[in-house]
Amino acid sequence: MDLRELYQEVILDHNKRPRNFRVPDPVNRKAEGYNPLCGDKITVFLYIEGDVIKDLGFQGTGCAISKASASMMTDALKGKTLSEADAFFEQFHTMLTVPTTSDVEMDALGKLAVLSGVREYPMRVKCASLAWHTLKAAMLQTEHEVVSTE
């Protein structure tokens, strides 16, 4: 596989200029994620009103794949309900791990489909999914919690 299919322009752009790389104000959910394999650390912040994600952001250090994934995730989920975010998580996870993901399912993921190249690199799937596992923990928890992808 060509490296350009993994490191697409959109990914490199989100890596260089991550969207929502901030602590939202106000904020009422927060979780920390950690990948001990590479030392990536991320904190996902949410502001939830009722069952809607009104605002979200993230902070931390990581590789281009984990940063771009986090950045695009925050873009995609603003204004979504918690159950819509859950469904998004499932679709994204399927795309990363199941080789036969159909075009229809990919369409539902929108821009995030550019990360589908990651599934050709099994060692990097955890990079792409770290922010998402952390998001899930933040949605479930009100207290500060560390999530590990190991």
């Binding site: 990536d40 650390k41 990581g62 281009a64 794949i65």
Partner: protein, 412 residues
């Protein structure tokens, strides 16, 4: 033209001894630069292990049959080879374990538990691998003892000037790496031993990263314990060595209980076997010991001085080449280094470097290298690490530099 020192060392001939090196990865010639994680195995080691299973397999120290006798002899012969390799006074001082990690845990759990009490101190250093931190941390937590950490400089050298001040009447053991796995720093073991011994404190040396790169003479070093892993010395995984001074080993309680470590057992009382059997409960890694013996034979067949000169020249060549790449910074610039080139690249995470290099056949390690406190000290979340062995070449360093240009191209 190669210089005289290097021409004495025929690297192409050496490479032919390692079958794994002759392959393509993602369509490119394999450039294996992850030797600090594990080294590759020469054909002689592979053959010795196959022979052990194909011809001599039986359990040791029991059974009167010929196969058991042959297996026992092979196992004890490997012990003698290790003894000579380390210049240890006695073969009985060589204890076979799974690797460096188990060797350090053995000392922490036996010598440590018997000698470290509440309020006592264990001294390690800021550059230790997790395997030379966590066993001592566990011991200190259990005993209410204090784990003290000798700092390093920004270059990655131990602050030996602070050592005297950190050794106290409560210090029960000093544990230090011979060579840092993340930085390549070669530590001044004899100086550390002198200072510790002046206060009657024993010293354990983690030799995992040293044995493949320099001659190790435990008597010249003067340390009390020396640990290393077979797989970082061109031998198999799952076999390693703890050397310890005989009086210390004899005074230590056993490690694990089981067969072979006893001389007699009743339900009321067990009498323990002598050293080294006291520390080798259960059926050991017999084929692994044979493989380690073969690895030592392999290393001893080489001109070690020429091998070191070859590695030093590669390290200097790699250091110059990496330093010349814009945006790359080498992490760990001690005056005395071996084998390791750890680096970071501006605006590119080491993990991305690792993936892009792998696609070009270049295998390096990326991450914290099991030295998280050291990464924090050096102010980096992770590094990319190219680590050398005797079979590496200047052309492979060139391939690394070429592959890094591709990283820059993608991330420009």
């Amino acid at each position: 033209m190669l210089s005289n020192t290097v021409s004495a060392f025929d690297v192409q001939k050496i490479r032919r001894d390692f079958p794994i090196l002759n392959q393509r990865i993602h369509g490119n010639a394999l450039v294996y630069l992850d030797n600090a994680a594990t080294t590759q195995k020469p054909q002689a080691v592979i053959d010795a292990m196959v022979r052990s299973y194909a011809e001599d397999n039986a359990n040791i120290h029991r059974g009167v049959h010929l196969l058991s006798e042959r297996a026992t002899q092979a196992y004890e012969l490997a012990r003698e080879k290790v003894q000579k390799f380390l210049n240890a006074p006695h073969a009985r001082e060589i204890i076979f374990v799974r690797g460096t990690t188990e060797a350090i845990n053995l000392v922490a759990q036996t010598y440590g538990r018997a000698n470290v009490g509440k309020g006592d101190e264990v001294l390690i250093t800021e550059m230790e691998h997790h395997s030379n931190i966590v066993p001592w941390q566990m011991l200190c937590d259990e005993k209410g003892a204090l784990l003290k950490v000798l700092p390093i400089t920004d270059e990655g050298e131990l602050r030996i000037d602070l050592l005297d001040g950190m050794l106290t009447d409560r210090t029960k053991i000093v544990a230090v790496a011979h060579v840092s796995n993340s930085l390549g720093t070669v530590n001044p073991i004899t100086t550390i031993v002198e200072k510790a011994h002046a206060r009657g404190i024993p010293v354990l040396v983690d030799g995992a990263q040293a044995v493949a790169h320099m001659p190790v003479d435990v008597q010249a070093l003067g340390a009390d314990f020396y640990a290393f892993s077979g797989h970082k010395l061109f031998g198999p995984t799952g076999i390693g060595v703890l050397w310890g001074r005989l009086p210390l080993l004899e005074a230590m309680p056993p490690y694990q209980g089981g067969g072979d470590m006893i001389s007699s057992v009743t339900f009321k009382k067990t009498t323990y076997n002598v050293v080294p059997n006291k520390f080798e409960a259960g059926t050991p890694n017999i084929a692994g010991s044979v493989g380690l013996g073969a690895a030592i034979d392999f290393v001893k067949s080489l001109d070690f001085a020429a091998m070191q000169a070859h590695e030093n020249e590669l390290l200097a060549y790699g250091t110059r080449a990496l330093t010349a790449v814009p945006g790359i910074r080498i992490v760990g610039t001690a005056a005395h280094k071996a084998s390791v080139l750890s680096f970071v690249m501006e605006d590119v995470h080491p993990h991305d470097i690792g993936t892009i290099l792998d696609q070009q056949g270049v295998a390096i390690r990326t991450g914290h290298h099991c030295t998280q406190p050291l990464m924090e000290r050096m102010g980096v979340p992770a590094t990319a690490r190219a680590s050398l062995a005797l079979y590496n070449t200047k052309e492979e360093i060139d391939a690394l530099i070429g592959a890094l240009a591709k990283v820059r191209e993608i991330f420009s």
